[in-house]
């Protein structure tokens, strides 16, 4: 039974806005000017201090069972700096003793000492941005590391004592064949990582790569091939003991899923720290300035660096719940949905779901509504159809 007084544990996300080099496909916020590192760190600790008792989190005393240090490239920070961040977080927030503490690292920026230091600082989960085990692909993606670096980083992470390890891979790269992608997958599973994220290469608007594509500087991979790779990935990983739990995420067991990332897909509360980070609780969301300079400046005046806040209407919450829910293989929890919005899922969406169900894109069983494997390939279209005439 849920106790209404005791909120579900929340998550903390810390955005490290630095990269040695901007990858042309990436739309996360980061800068390459490392001289601002210390100023940023100081500001980040201030944000924790000021933020612990202000903002919309003050109403509910949350406890936190995840801390995710992402970016950017968190591994541009040394172990001592990461340690300071974790310690400060523990001082300001009630972080549970068994919390999942993740760091994202770039294979080109880590040393064995650094990794040991992270582990020692309390990081218990590591996610390595491998992207590919082939130099040609890494070159196209504009990564600073080589395939060799990737192999090395994984071994070093294991050696440093990380028992919960995740790898990020990208497919749908121009020139990549099905065989070539399977080779990457084979190499990845050979390390028996606990977690795998396999992302279809996406051209996010505003990125250098999208600009290059529009200007015809390269020819994107064939759409049908990429679609096939999506399904190949799921079957291959299934055969190798990895169950898909979100469109792009796979884990060896339920406990090895990214506890933190699942919060985004279950409307759980999370607090974002650092430039551009988003916070969310109930119907409210706010996000920080997407600028290190502004972030540091605002905090130096004792104010939270919030760029914008929004309070979602019921209709918007329903929309987001559908959007995030259908990304999971579990799908939308219908009981939860009905309770949360005091509504009847069937009544408001049944009519829209039916034809999609007939086409085998969406499925319902007892308490769940979820996309089929084929349905996931058309996630955007399906969500768009479902939310069109969402009666309330």
């Amino acid at each position: 039974m849920e106790n209404p007084c005791q909120a579900e544990p929340a998550g903390i996300y810390v955005h490290i806005p630095f990269c040695v080099w901007k990858c042309p496909y990436c739309d996360f916020y980061s800068i390459t000017d490392m001289s601002l590192k210390e100023a940023f760190l100081g500001a980040l600790l201030d944000e924790m201090q000021i933020g612990k008792e202000t903002g919309f989190f003050q109403k509910t005393r949350f406890s936190y069972d995840t801390l995710y240090i992402g970016g950017g490239t968190p591994s541009v920070l040394d172990a001592e700096q990461i340690s300071r961040i974790i310690e400060a977080a523990c001082r300001s927030f009630q972080i549970l003793s068994d919390a999942e503490i993740t760091i994202e690292v770039n294979p080109g920026t880590v040393t064995p000492e650094q990794l040991r230091g992270y582990r020692h600082a309390g990081v218990n989960r590591i996610n390595i941005g491998v992207q590919s085990f082939q130099d040609a692909n890494l070159k196209f993606l504009g990564r600073i590391h080589s395939a060799q670096n990737a192999h090395l980083a994984i071994r070093q992470a294991r050696d440093a004592g990380f028992e919960n390890l995740g790898l990020d891979l990208i497919y749908g790269i121009p020139g990549q064949s099905e065989k070539s992608w399977l080779a990457d997958l084979h190499r990845a599973v050979a390390y028996r990582p606990e977690h795998l994220s396999c992302y279809m290469l996406t051209f996010e608007s505003g990125t250098q790569m999208d600009d290059d594509r529009k200007k015809g500087r390269f020819c994107p991979a064939d759409e049908a091939l990429t679609a096939r790779l999506f399904e190949t990935t799921i079957s291959f990983l299934e055969d190798h003991g990895y169950a898909q739990y979100e469109i792009s995420n796979f884990a060896r067991s339920v406990s090895k899923r990214s506890r933190h990332n699942q919060k985004y897909w279950t409307d759980a509360p999370y607090r974002g720290l650092g430039p551009s980070a988003h916070s969310f609780a109930e119907a409210r969301r706010c996000w920080n300035f997407r600028s290190v300079k502004k972030y540091v400046e605002t905090l130096s005046t004792g104010k939270l660096p919030i760029e914008e806040k929004e309070t979602l209407t019921r209709e918007q919450r329903i929309l987001e719940t559908i959007y995030t829910g259908l990304r999971k293989t579990y799908g939308i929890d219908i009981d939860k949905f009905n309770k949360k919005f005091s509504t009847n899922f069937e009544e408001i969406l049944g009519e829209r779901i039916m034809p999609l169900e007939e086409k085998g894109l969406i499925q319902r069983s007892q308490n769940r509504c979820f996309l089929s494997r084929r349905g996931m390939l058309f996630f955007d279209s399906i969500v768009s159809i479902l939310v069109q005439e969402c009666k309330n």
Binding site: S248, R327, D380, V387
Partner: protein
């Protein structure tokens, strides 16, 4: 003498009754020209030269008050302005410039405007020379016995060839080129010569008997939200003043005159308007439909013996249905049409409904340009997004039982097995071209099922060709094509002559097997395959890819005559979704949701407004 200055301040009543005494100081004139020869610029200069508007309030193309007129560089709604001018002879003259619309759809309006003038400036571009509309407009002016002053404009251009243009004026137009005024409206050259020319060379209005019963011609009207319909009129005999009870001779409707006056960008009230004057009348007339262009106004108690000649009731010849894209846009459309109708007497409409598009209106237009203008005004001035169905003419359908029906809407087309014969309207088209385009025009007209009845040389290289063509072929995109094959030199005018037997079919468009009633068209059998194929191609290009293959078919009854396919997405999935992505994605979905209000759902297929519009579009590019 006429007392001045304060006299022309906006809003002040004319203080003088001297008007009727000074008929010789009035000139009523139009400017006629081929498109782009500088008509609006010349009008601007004349207005500026006579100081009726401050420089601060002045803007280019001041008489073209609609955005759409300025953007397209055409005049749709004619305007009138009275210019006070003190000539070299020391006298002050009142020059009534009656602006005219510039398109064949509105040729009746042009003829009414010219009927209120004694003279016209015929503007010819110094580098382009005499062109088709110059000629067509000249004929129209000569029909009304107008005195013509040729004006060679744009003489400042490096490519100006004044001597060649003089020769054309002489040879092609048969006018005395020695009397042509040289001008550059853009640089303000020759403006005084033009004003002096108007004063000295155009005759004053015939001093009709001011004591005779009132006879005045309505040449235009517009709607003012505060005063109701403003009737633009030219008094040809008698006098009209506030308090008079007048009647319209076409329908005997009578009204009490509230105000008369003249136009000076703003309306300036006057005590009366008498024979020869051009001005306006306000008489509590609710909608412009109650006043008809070309009608005659007289006094109820003391009517004149006969109306002005040339009155015609304008009849719509092109029909199309208008639907709001958003399903909740119907009420807005009702209001917008009612308002537009206040200002556009030639627009007619009645309720219509479609399975695919919901409720809308079946509308009648004077021509295709009129249709486009109405659509643009509705969308711009009333912020509506609309879907228009393919334009159609009126067909006469004779049933097996001998009864007959007039049909302009494909939705009402009866079961073909019940039809004995179908008749379609034919026009007599007069096309004037330089003779080098004879072959091109001949093939265009033959391709449009035209029959060449006659041709004759007007001058040594200018040709008039007469064709009988089905109206349906002309409303499609004939005028654009004529212009393109004649490089803009072709002018064209037409009258409906009769109804003739035809082989009509109804083509349907099916999307994934479902008929979209709003895309049905009535076409000649010979045209059906081509039209259906074109419609399918355009839909294919405009309908966004979806999860499934979309089949677009053209059909006559159960027979498929064209087919195109929109290939499906192979994938459509956002790869990553973390904390910073959700709000952005939600906004994107919300935007899409709004955008989809501009789409129509047929079965499972979303069809954007642009797709419907593309089927209607006529250009072949």
């Amino acid at each position: 003498m006429i007392p001045q200055n304060s006299f022309f301040e906006a809003g002040r009543e004319c203080s003088s009754g001297d008007f009727e005494l000074n008929m010789k100081n009035i000139r009523n004139f139009s400017i006629i020209a081929h498109i782009d020869h500088g008509k609006s610029t010349l009008a601007d200069r004349l207005i500026q030269a006579t100081d009726i508007i401050s420089d601060r309030d002045f803007h280019d193309q001041i008489l073209d008050s609609m955005d759409i007129e300025r953007e397209r560089g055409i005049t749709i709604k004619s305007q009138t302005v009275c210019l006070p001018y003190t000539a070299k002879d020391g006298q002050t003259y009142f020059l009534n410039l009656i602006d005219t619309p510039g398109h064949v759809d509105f040729s009746y309006e042009v003829s009414r405007a010219l009927a209120s003038c004694e003279g016209a400036l015929l503007l010819v571009d110094a580098s382009q020379g005499v062109e088709a509309q110059t000629l067509a407009n000249l004929y129209l002016a000569l029909e009304h016995d107008l005195e013509i002053i040729p004006v060679i404009n744009k003489i400042d251009l490096p490519s100006a060839d004044i001597e060649r243009v003089r020769k054309q004026i002489e040879d092609d137009l048969g006018l005395d080129s020695e009397t042509a005024i040289l001008a550059s409206a853009k640089d303000g050259i020759g403006i005084e010569d033009v004003l002096e020319g108007i004063v000295n060379r155009l005759p004053p209005p015939l001093s009709g008997d001011a004591e005779a019963p009132l006879k005045a011609l309505i040449f235009d009207s517009h709607y003012d939200p505060f005063r109701g319909t403003i009737v633009h009129l030219r008094v040809s005999q008698g006098k009209i003043k506030a308090g008079d009870v007048i009647s319209f001779m076409s329908n005997n409707a009578s009204y009490k005159v509230e105000e008369v006056g003249i136009f000076q960008i703003v309306r300036v009230p006057a005590k009366s308007l008498s024979a020869g004057q051009v001005g306006y009348m306000i008489a509590g007339i609710k909608t412009v439909s109650d006043t008809r262009c070309g009608d005659t106004i007289t006094l109820k108690k003391q009517p004149c013996d006969s109306p002005m000649s040339g009155f015609k009731e304008t009849k719509p010849v092109v029909f199309s249905s208008i639907y709001p894209v958003a399903s909740d846009g119907y009420e807005d459309l009702v209001i917008a049409l009612e308002k537009l109708k206040l200002n556009d007497a030639s627009l007619i409409y009645e309720k219509d409904s479609s399975a695919a598009l919901g409720f809308g209106f079946r509308c009648g237009f004077l021509g295709l340009l009129h249709l486009e203008v109405v659509q643009e005004r509705l969308e711009r001035e009333y912020d509506l997004s609309l879907i228009l169905t393919a334009p159609s003419v009126q067909y006469e359908i004779i049933m097996n039982d001998g009864s007959s029906e007039i049909i302009d809407n494909p939705a009402l087309y009866p079961d073909p097995t019940r039809i004995q014969t179908t008749k379609e309207p034919f026009i007599r088209a007069a096309i004037i071209i330089p003779d080098r385009y004879m072959g091109a025009v001949m093939s265009l007209c033959l391709e449009r099922r035209g029959i060449n009845k006659n041709y004759q040389y007007l001058t040594n290289n200018r040709l008039e060709m007469i064709f009988e063509i089905p109206l349906a072929e002309v409303v499609y995109d004939f005028y654009d094509r004529l212009k393109s094959v004649t490089q803009g030199y072709g002018s064209f005018d037409y009258d409906i002559i009769d109804y003739r037997e035809t082989d009509l079919v109804k083509t349907d468009i099916l999307i994934n097997g479902e008929r979209v009633d709003a895309l049905s068209q009535l076409v000649h059998r010979d045209r059906s395959v081509e039209r259906a194929r074109l419609a399918c191609e355009r839909l294919r290009d405009e309908i966004p890819r979806q999860m499934f293959k979309i089949a677009i078919q053209g059909a006559i009854g159960a027979k498929i005559i064209a087919r195109k396919t929109v290939s499906p997405f192979r994938k459509d999935v956002t790869a990553k979704c973390y904390g910073g992505d959700i709000s952005r994605k939600r906004k994107l979905l919300e935007k899409q949701k709004k955008g989809k209000k501009r789409m129509k759902m047929v079965g499972q297929v979303m069809i954007p407004q642009a797709a419907f519009l593309s089927v209607l579009k006529t250009d072949n590019s």
